[in-house]
């Protein structure tokens, strides 16, 4: 069984926000008005944050950024608190979000220490014309609605490691009667990354790029002390 993981090399990240945009178009995240954004209701499953410089930090001259998808924690606080199992951890370590079941209690959003989860305050909307060009992919069936499927108002959504791409890759591999090849399934942000800072693969496979990179001295995880054991791994700058 695979354990999907992403490695982000902060040294190579140029903070272009290409990942955010690619994610937006891949996953049909709604666009909010400037006033709503002002309130802090913008939706970017993968956000690029400027880091606040520490006072007296010599390096503070340099602007620093952090790009942040879901950590797909191995011990996810969000999953623990969901009353209806609308968010759950799959066999391959991906933390799913089922829009068809979520009751919108927002317990997961306050429990996630990474601020990864977004709530649909209103029904989703897109700018003129854009709604003609939404990604038709979705994962659905059996009371399940995931991936880029259009979310109704009042439910929570978040980065899924582009789970619909995994489904597609798997379907193709099964049709051809083989295993998924490495590199056959990558999320949109990894594919698009300008600085080639993002890597994706299977942690279970010792030869995969993510396994190799996760052993590097620069490797770290966000809030390691929180015990969430993220599968999104960062490589430190410098």
């Amino acid at each position: 069984m695979a354990r999907w993981s992403m490695v982000i090399d902060l040294d190579k990240c140029v903070a272009c926000q290409g990942c955010s945009i690619a994610c937006r178009f891949e996953n049909n995240t709604p666009i909010v008005s400037p006033e709503e954004a002002e309130l802090g209701r913008e939706m970017l499953w993968n956000e690029v944050f400027p880091l606040r410089a520490e006072e007296g930090d010599i390096a503070s001259e340099q602007s620093r950024f952090l790009t942040r998808p879901c950590m797909h924690c191995e011990n996810p606080p969000c999953v623990k608190v969901c009353p209806v199992q609308a968010t759950f951890i799959g066999d391959e370590g991906i933390v799913h979000q089922n829009y068809a079941r979520c009751i919108g209690c927002r317990f997961c959003t306050v429990a996630c220490p990474y601020g990864v989860r977004y709530f649909n305050w209103y029904a989703p909307s897109w700018e003129e014309g854009l709604e003609q060009h939404l990604n038709p992919d979705r994962v659905m069936g059996n009371g399940d609605l995931e991936g880029p499927a259009i979310r109704p108002r009042g439910v929570v959504e978040k980065c899924t490691y582009c789970i619909h791409r995994l489904h597609k890759a798997r379907a193709r591999a099964e049709a051809e009667g083989r295993e998924i090849r490495s590199g056959e399934y990558v999320p949109a942000c990894v594919q698009t990354c300008t600085g080639k800072a993002r890597f994706f693969g299977d942690l279970e496979d010792p030869n995969s790029i993510v396994s190799q990179l996760s052993q590097e001295r620069r490797a770290f995880r966000l809030l390691e002390e929180a015990g969430t054991r993220p599968k999104t791994i960062y490589l430190e700058e410098g």
């Binding site: 606080p77 009353p83 209806v84 009751i103 306050v110 990474y114 305050w121």
Partner: protein, 450 residues
């Protein structure tokens, strides 16, 4: 067999409000009902448009609604505290207060539950909680505990009401027929036989123990919705006891307010002597000091630990965006009430009420200040995004509606049933020598108390 009722010297004055027609109350009811309706309309609008009509955002995902939820459940604790816990400990001064206090429980719980539904993004999917309920989620603990609490409160309340309903049935013969019919049905054929009283006392004693356990569980579980996350300021073992103490504190203060109003409006001065207020005053002094103890225990530990993410929230409260609410709360629930209780409130109902009102406003602020500041500085995000929150009119209107709804139910109740338990406040329930009836001893049995 003719129904026997114990002789209560205050029977006339206690029954008077029930006997009188609705009269001028109608205005009050209409006002409260209109606010309630306005709130329902606001909620319907919120349901159609989405939770965007509130001030909630990212990362402040929970706001006034959840504050109200915690506050209402806290208010509910007054009744159980006074009728169950004081029953178990045998504090007899509680007797005239029990029903007035239990009614607060009964009428605030449904509104507490409503808060959860109002806060949900998809209230239409509320049944998913039952269909797919995961017992690992603290929210389901809440759901279960509060439902159980509501159910057992109804039973407890109703049981102790039966003898008085029977009394209304027999004494109030000139009330409208529907009202009389209601008494007949609800009295369940009560005859006032001494076995019945005996059995009733025993059931109430046993239920009081159960209720005591439930009440402690409920508010602890409410706090665990916060405590079980790893957000700074919430993730502390103290949050359970702190919530519980706060609940009983605000609940008891609410009893003072309600009692004073009833006493004045319904001329119950003789049935509710001032000594009651003095007993409540002593309880409240204890709670005020207990509250201080909890505050110090919590904040001193945080301050000495000085974990960076905890300190972000700590300073948010002490000097940051929430300093006005935080210090206002401290003054309202601690300094002023303690001063009033010690120097002014003895034998003075107006002062007691003042303190009660301040404590309740302060405790609402306290709930707010426990919940919101943590959300504005969540664990990772405090470095990245800083949240703020400003409730909108929808939230305030719905809040007002919740309080009006509770007041409305209470006001109506006092016109239908005696608000002071008649049978519990008499000197003696014995109308004939206890007949010899060997009964097997059971768990929770006590010798008949008179």
């Amino acid at each position: 067999m003719a129904t026997w009722h114990p002789k209560n010297e205050h029977e006339q004055i206690i029954l008077a409000p029930v006997k009188q027609g609705v009269g001028r109350d109608r205005i009050l009811w209409i006002v409260l009902a209109s606010i309630l309706l306005a709130g329902i309309a606001a909620w319907a609008r919120q349901f159609v448009l989405g939770l965007g009509v509130t001030g909630m955002n990212r990362p402040v995902y929970w706001g006034v609604y959840i504050t109200n939820f915690v506050f209402f459940i806290g208010l509910a604790h007054s009744g159980t505290f006074i009728s169950a816990i004081l029953r178990v400990t045998g504090a007899d001064f509680r007797k005239p207060l029990t029903r007035a206090a239990e009614a607060i429980t009964l009428f605030s719980l449904p509104f507490g539950v409503a808060c959860i539904v109002i806060d949900m993004g998809r209230p239409d999917r509320v049944l998913n909680m039952i269909r797919y309920g995961r017992f690992q989620s603290p929210l389901l603990w809440d759901f279960t505990a509060v439902s159980l609490y509501l159910l057992s409160s109804i039973v407890f309340f109703y049981l102790s009401l039966i003898p008085d309903i029977a009394l209304c049935r027999d004494r109030l013969t000139d009330v409208p027929p529907w009202k009389h019919r209601m008494y007949e049905i609800l009295a369940l054929g009560w005859t006032g036989d001494s076995h019945q009283y005996h059995r009733l006392e025993r059931v109430l004693d046993a239920m009081a123990i159960l209720m005591t356990m439930i009440v402690i569980t409920v508010h602890t579980v409410v706090s665990w919705v916060f405590g079980m996350t790893i957000q700074p300021g919430w993730h502390t073992a103290l949050i359970g006891p702190f919530f519980l103490l706060g609940a009983i504190f605000s609940g008891t203060a609410a009893v003072v307010i309600v009692l004073a109003i009833l006493r004045k409006l319904y001329h119950l001065e003789d049935a509710l002597p001032i000594g009651l207020f003095n007993s409540l005053r002593k309880l409240l002094i204890t709670f005020t000091l207990g509250w201080l103890y909890m505050m110090i225990a919590e904040f001193l530990t945080t301050y000495y630990g000085s974990l960076p993410e905890e300190m972000e929230v700590f300073w948010q409260k002490f000097t940051g965006d929430f300093y006005l609410i935080f210090w206002g709360m401290t003054i309202l629930v601690f300094f002023i009430p303690l001063f009033i209780f010690i120097f002014r409130a003895k034998d003075s109902i107006p002062w007691m009420v003042t303190a009660g009102v301040l404590i309740n406003i302060g405790m609402w602020m306290e709930r707010y200040v426990v919940i919101i500041p943590t959300e504005t500085r969540p664990r990772l995000l405090y470095e990245l995004v800083q949240g703020s929150y400003r409730p909108t009119w929808t939230e305030w209107l719905i809040t007002a509606a919740l309080f009006s709804g509770m007041g409305l139910l209470y006001a109506i109740f006092t016109r239908l049933f005696p608000i002071i338990p008649l049978w519990e406040t008499v000197d003696s329930l014995e109308h004939e020598p206890e007949p010899e009836r060997p009964e097997p001893r059971r768990f929770g049995e006590r010798t008949a108390q008179v």
